[in-house]
């Protein structure tokens, strides 16, 4: 075991391998508030990468309804239950990670989903109830509202991946250039240890080739400076594919660094598990803080408040407007004169988006001319 720094936990932790951060880290930012679970991302991914025989059940990308949706079933509640109740001391995690809680003879505290857990990819869809009194029922609310929201899930391309830790073959690796985590398809011997170890359950076993596969971060697109398929197909424009700097070299001009480290508006998924996951979420503003804290850590209230005030922060608002505005990967951005502009690494502009679309008002009643006769008209649904 090596001691490594996990900035999301605010402390060092134990991991089987020494820290070896990539030059820059592939990251994705998801604004959960904009998702309608149309699954365009899921289909874009599926039709690009996993429509082969043996990959039928594979969804490298999926959208699930929280709190009752999962794929595979129970992926998060199962590991949370196994880990047991843990504690944050302010911004520092005082509990155990899944590496620190590993039982004797194991490198990671894990569990293996059963076959049927992979059989219901959209279980709990749009389901806000369940055992209402004990869970999502909010009696204080004047409308007795239940809550639910959509969680967008891909591989987290973790800084400290559990799949890498658990693979006895060292067949899974993190690319030094961009931190994308890949399974070496020639080296894997199909032990499925990664399926047991990954708490996010984002490695999957190919039934025809008998080796593990996983989200590849659309690396052939990344290498061309393009955002992933799930990002560019998102009709809600809620995703941003970007790169995160080393946590000690944060550059506020970079979109991911700005949203994650400067504004602290995008938060990691279950950071307490200890993997330093690199998909970051703008939390849903309408969900109880207690639940969100369990899922995204102690920065939830600050993130929600920042998001609610984004309308008054042109720099932040401009960046959010640039989500989904271009297929290219944005390196920096600037906002001036009511327009947000994105730039590539060479500093060339790749897209410009107005903060507010121009508005035109057409009166309901107007005067027109019918066969030379002035006539009062009105608009209806045209």
């Amino acid at each position: 075991m090596a001691t490594v720094r996990n900035w999301q936990l605010g402390r060092d932790m134990e991991y089987p391998y020494a820290a070896d951060r990539p030059k820059k880290q592939f990251t994705m930012i998801m604004d959960t508030n904009k998702c309608i679970a149309c699954q365009s991302c899921t289909i874009a991914c599926k039709s690009t990468w996993t429509w082969g025989k043996g990959q039928e059940y594979m969804l490298w990308n999926n959208i699930e309804t929280k709190p009752f949706g999962f794929y595979p079933t129970g992926w998060d509640v199962n590991i949370l239950e196994r880990l047991g109740e843990q504690q944050w001391d302010g911004d520092t995690y005082g509990g155990q990670t899944i590496f620190e809680a590993a039982p004797e003879g194991e490198r990671v505290l894990g569990w293996t989903p059963a076959e049927e857990d992979w059989s219901h990819p959209n279980i709990g869809e749009d389901e806000p109830t369940g055992n209402a009194e004990d869970t999502t029922y909010i009696p204080d609310n004047p409308h007795s509202l239940m809550w639910m929201y959509y969680l967008q899930r891909i591989c987290n391309h973790c800084t400290y991946p559990a799949c890498v830790a658990a693979c006895p073959r060292e067949a899974i690796y993190k690319r030094p250039d961009d931190g994308i985590v890949l399974v070496d398809q020639t080296r894997c011997r199909g032990y499925q240890e990664c399926l047991t170890a990954c708490p996010y359950k984002k490695t999957m076993f190919n039934l025809e080739t008998r080796v593990s596969e996983k989200c590849i971060g659309c690396y052939p697109k990344i290498e061309q400076g393009l955002q992933t398929q799930c990002t560019t197909s998102c009709i809600g424009r809620l995703r941003l594919t970007n790169f995160l700097s080393h946590p000690d070299e944060v550059d506020p001009r970079k979109p991911a660094d700005y949203l994650i480290h400067v504004k602290r508006m995008a938060l990691p998924l279950y950071p307490q598990l200890g993997l330093e996951p690199n998909v970051y979420y703008v939390p849903p503003v309408h969900v109880p803080t207690k639940y969100l804290t369990q899922m995204f850590g102690p920065g939830v209230e600050h993130a929600v408040e920042t998001y609610r005030n984004a309308k008054d922060d042109e720099e932040l608002l401009g960046l959010l407007m640039l989500f989904g505005a271009t297929e290219r990967i944005m390196d920096t951005w600037k906002v001036s004169g009511g327009v947000a502009r994105a730039y590539d690494e060479a500093g060339d502009e790749i897209v410009a988006v107005p903060l507010r679309e121009p508005t035109f008002t057409r009166p309901f009643e107007f005067t027109t001319d019918v066969k030379g006769v002035p006539t009062a008209g009105y608009r209806h649904n045209t």
């Binding site: 429509w51 082969g52 025989k53 043996g54 990959q55 039928e56 059940y57 004797e104 003879g105 194991e106 490198r107 293996t112 989903p113 059963a114 076959e115 992979w118 658990a166 006895p168 073959r169 060292e170 398809q185 020639t186 080296r187 894997c188 011997r189 199909g190 032990y191 499925q192 240890e193 399926l195 076993f205 190919n206 039934l207 025809e208 080739t209 008998r210 080796v211 596969e213």
Partner: protein, 304 residues
């Protein structure tokens, strides 16, 4: 020691001077085996003597008469608890091993109790398997039991039930067999030229030997220098065949004695350490989660 868990400490001992003691103790049991004289009853701890056969080796027939003349040795198995991940509990306690050779090829018949035939790989679905481990070089000290160590490799022959089914069924060992009622939408190989469709089976296209379903042998020949270092040999020479009957696997594993490009030849009259591992698919065994045996002694009978 063979009836308890093998610990890290034991392994260190085997890697060093104590190994000589293991071989010496084995020699003592040879006399016992001959004294018992019953060639059909497996003898615990007896050296495995590969009987010389002047004719064809029954490599594809575990039930052949020739095997009945070979003395089986009872090999104790324990849960692998040296390298992570561990096997918590052994699901099978012993393996019967016997051997034959014809001067050109060494064949072992390995048998163990297993009611469940696990010969498809799927989601949380693993296969039965057995492996034979031999040093690549002769010498008084066997390599580390832990699949060798850097600088002291081992030569491993692994049989998998999935590969046996690959051969027996002509490669029908995928989705359609795991889920016989499956209804497929259009698949890449339905609509794309074969060369293009092949890219949708990445492991196969990348040349991973595990991903090939059209194979000629159910036994893979590999070298290793420690756990996790298994390397598929570019030139595969091992053969074998298996059947499961009476709630028991009967697996023949054979390899040319020349071991060209792998290690020293297995000459008639020579004695070698040999170790085994068994996997039970129904017990979620795979990789390091296996039953292992301590080093045993294998002697190839002289040809004259």
């Amino acid at each position: 020691m063979a009836d308890s868990t093998i610990t890290r400490r034991d392994v260190l001992l085997y890697g060093g001077a104590a190994a000589g003691g293991v071989v010496a103790a084995g020699a003592g049991v040879v006399a016992l085996a001959h004294a018992v004289g019953d060639k059909k009853t497996p003898v615990p701890g007896a050296p495995i003597v590969a009987k010389y056969v002047d004719g064809d080796l029954p490599v594809t027939d575990p039930g052949a008469d020739a095997w009945k003349d070979a003395q089986p040795s009872l090999v104790p198995l324990v849960a692998q608890q040296i390298a992570q991940p561990f096997l918590e509990e052994a699901g099978v306690a012993e393996l019967d091993a016997r051997a034959l050779h014809d001067g050109n090829e060494l064949a072992l018949l390995l048998e163990w109790d297993d009611d469940n035939v696990d010969d498809l790989d799927g989601i949380h679905r693993y296969h039965d398997a057995v492996a034979v481990q031999l040093p690549t070089k002769s010498g008084a000290t066997p390599p580390a039991l832990t699949m060798g160590a850097p600088g002291t490799p081992v030569h491993v022959l692994q049989w998998r039930a999935t590969w046996q089914r690959d051969i027996d069924s002509g490669g029908k060992t995928g989705v359609d067999q795991i889920y016989p009622e499956v209804v497929h939408d259009v698949m890449p190989d339905d609509v794309l030229p074969p060369r293009t469709a092949a890219y949708y089976w990445v492991g196969r296209k990348a040349g991973n030997p595990l991903s090939q379903k059209l194979r000629t042998t159910p036994v893979e020949e590999i070298v290793a220098e420690g756990f996790g270092s298994v390397t598929h040999l570019p030139h595969q020479t091992a053969r074998g065949h298996a059947v499961n009957s009476g709630g028991r696997w009967h697996v023949v594993v054979a390899v040319p004695t020349a071991r060209t490009g792998v290690g020293e030849p297995l000459r008639p009259g020579s004695t070698w350490p040999v170790a085994f591992a068994v996997w039970l698919g129904s017990e979620s065994n795979r990789g390091a989660r296996k039953q292992i045996a301590d080093w045993q002694t294998l002697t190839l009978e002289a040809t004259s």
